[in-house]
């Protein structure tokens, strides 16, 4: 089949059946929105996981711009049992990029379905389509003169609020937990019906974007990190720009300081003194905008403690750097600043750095940008540490207790180092829990390092599960394994829902380990 991407066919589908479906897609969307040639699909072959690209090669990629087109696609997929992997902007770096769960799925890229349907500057709400990027939304708010902020994840400009929220991503302003600040969805179901969740069910409702819960079971959650529908609209809340924004950093010298840091920041977070997603950043992450491993060594394997200490000394980087910000009127910020500085001083360690003191320090500047909803991609510097484009986020959740975070850091570092890789990690504090984010960085052009990275990630999952820890999100290679770690009952319930909502198994089989065929 010369017209298809490297002869990649969906599981169990005959070439003629697939070609018929492709012709129907072309009739529905126009040939220019149905990509099947290898040269057209090249952008979708770029992955960061430690396996061959061919294992996640799509059979085709579609773009749609209307709900009716999405319904039409769903109909064709049902008729021919074509699996469809939907992305909003497909910038899910470290969690699979746009790659489908396995070879032979058809990607539905909704990037061009990008209308900002409504922004209410009074209630501070937005309703957007999946392809709207944070950059597009920020440009729109500026153009309208609305004093409202978005809450971007670190790939801000090129990612989307809908895609990020559907994978339950996080940001850095006080609205950091994105799903918490989402409100109302429109979903195309596998039977072709269009569901508007919660208050969206009431004809002429004007509270769809203001009241999350509606009536009866709260359904929005089952459309996140799942494969039960295609989301075509999502509402969320925007933060009013505060009169005063005061970002700050506090640097700590020692690895073990993480324990005291968490104990100190937890109450400040739970009590709302520091309202945003505070981050506690390890040395190599903090160094990533300016330091490359090759500046210090070209030897393979884990980076020595001596080198990490040299990086700290030569670049004045702490073992841990805490970033947070205060928001509000001048009076509110002044009061809270006093509480923060008194708390730090009472602990007897830590160097406080204000925005004025940081000057144009690139690490501080990009953190401050993220905490005020500005666009930046400086965090991509992480990929320069080892180079070679290999990355997987290992993202266990931790209790917000110092002893727990230290235990996790030590466990992860031991496993990473055993496989010749480095601990490049940070914690995002969301009151009672922490997202522990570790970028498992490796060189994809080095076959040995690819193997090591795979084995390392596998062992990280095994060992953390043994200790009772679970990850909040993962790339497609490990979705089944992580689903197993959450136990057979959760897996069975997810499958029951799948059978009820998508009996032909057309939506993203394998997402979060949910697949009627395995």
């Amino acid at each position: 089949m010369a017209t298809n991407n490297h002869n990649v066919l969906p599981r169990g589908i005959e070439p003629s059946e697939f070609l018929t479906a492709v012709e129907k897609f072309k009739a529905l969307l126009g040939a220019e929105n149905v990509l099947t040639e290898p040269s057209q699909l090249a952008p979708y072959m770029k992955i960061m996981m430690p396996v061959a690209e061919s294992e996640h090669a799509p059979s085709a990629a579609l773009t749609a711009t209307t709900v009716e087109q999405v319904q039409g696609i769903v109909k064709i997929c049902n008729e021919h049992k074509i699996p469809i992997w939907t992305v909003s902007t497909g910038r899910n770096f470290g969690y699979g990029t746009a790659a489908p769960h396995h070879r032979g799925q058809v990607i539905l890229n909704l990037n061009k379905m990008n209308k900002i349907i409504e922004v209410d500057p009074v209630l501070c709400t937005a309703l957007v389509e999946p392809g709207v990027t944070y950059q597009q939304l920020v440009d729109y708010l500026k153009e309208k003169g609305y004093k409202l902020w978005v809450d971007p994840p670190a790939p801000s400009a090129i990612a989307s609020p809908v895609g990020n929220t559907l994978d339950r991503g996080v940001g850095y302003t006080p609205y950091a937990e994105h799903f918490m600040f989402s409100c109302g969805m429109e979903v195309v179901l596998a039977n072709g019906e269009v569901l508007r969740t919660a208050m969206g069910g009431i004809p002429n409702s004007n509270t769809w974007q203001t009241f999350k819960w509606g009536y009866g079971p709260y359904l929005d959650g089952i459309f996140t990190q799942s494969n039960y529908g295609i989301v075509t609209k999502m509402g969320f809340w925007l933060m009013p720009e505060p009169p005063v924004f005061k970002p700050f950093a506090i640097k700590y010298d020692k690895d073990e300081d993480i324990e005291d840091l968490v104990e100190m920041f937890r109450p400040l977070s739970i009590n709302g003194i520091i309202p945003n997603g505070v981050v506690l950043v390890g040395t190599l992450w903090e160094a990533s905008p300016t330091v490359r491993r090759s500046d210090y060594t070209t030897e393979k394997g884990a980076t020595s403690k001596a080198i990490i200490q040299r990086i700290r000394d030569e670049h004045q980087i702490g073992a841990w750097t805490a970033y947070g910000a205060l928001y509000g009127t001048q009076e509110q910020v002044d009061v809270n600043w006093r509480i923060v500085t008194d708390t730090v001083k009472a602990a007897g360690k830590g160097i406080i750095v204000t925005e004025e003191e940081a000057g144009d320090d690139i690490a501080f500047t990009y953190r401050a940008d993220l905490m005020r909803g500005n666009m930046t991609l400086v965090e991509f510097g992480l990929y320069n540490w080892r180079g070679g484009g290999g990355s997987m986020w290992f993202a266990p959740v931790s209790q917000a207790k110092g002893s727990e975070t230290r235990k996790q850091v030590e466990l992860a570092t031991r496993i990473l180092n055993k496989h010749g890789l480095d601990y490049v990690g940070e914690f995002i504090v969301t009151q009672r829990a922490l997202h522990h984010l570790i970028d498992v960085l490796y060189d994809r052009t080095d076959p040995e390092e690819m193997k090591a990275a795979y084995a390392c990630f596998d062992e990280l999952l095994d060992e953390f599960t043994k200790h009772g820890y679970g990850v909040y999100r993962v790339n497609p290679e490990f979705m089944h394994k992580v689903a197993d770690s959450f136990g057979p009952t959760q897996r069975a319930v997810n499958k029951t829902l799948k059978r009820a909502l998508d009996p032909n198994n057309i939506f993203a089989p394998g997402k979060s380990g949910i697949d009627l065929e395995s």
């Binding site: 040639e37 040269s39 670049h315 400086v378």
Partner: protein, 116 residues
Amino acid sequence: MAVSTRWITTKWSLAAGILGLACLLSLAAWAEVNGSWKNGEEVYAKVCGYCHQTGIGPVIKGRKLPPEYTVHVVRNGLRAMPAFPAAFIDDKALREVAGYISKSAAEQKQEAENER
């Protein structure tokens, strides 16, 4: 907090990429889509510049990069650099940004640091 922004030259990867172009590139194969970008300068400012203007990616302005090379790297990615599909940067916008980068003048600071 000292900042030591370093610009990495990528002569080797550029050469390899250009050599590989002849067999890999078929511009006509990409769908012609009317995207929402105003022009190449806007794409540079709102996508490329966030990395290539901040020391995260190599400097690409002022190096007379062949537009075909830029088009190839954008569509295929290159090591740490992600690939961008036509749904994100349409073919017309991509040609424009590749032309813009190719014709751009070096910024003084970058020129000096590129020498290193």
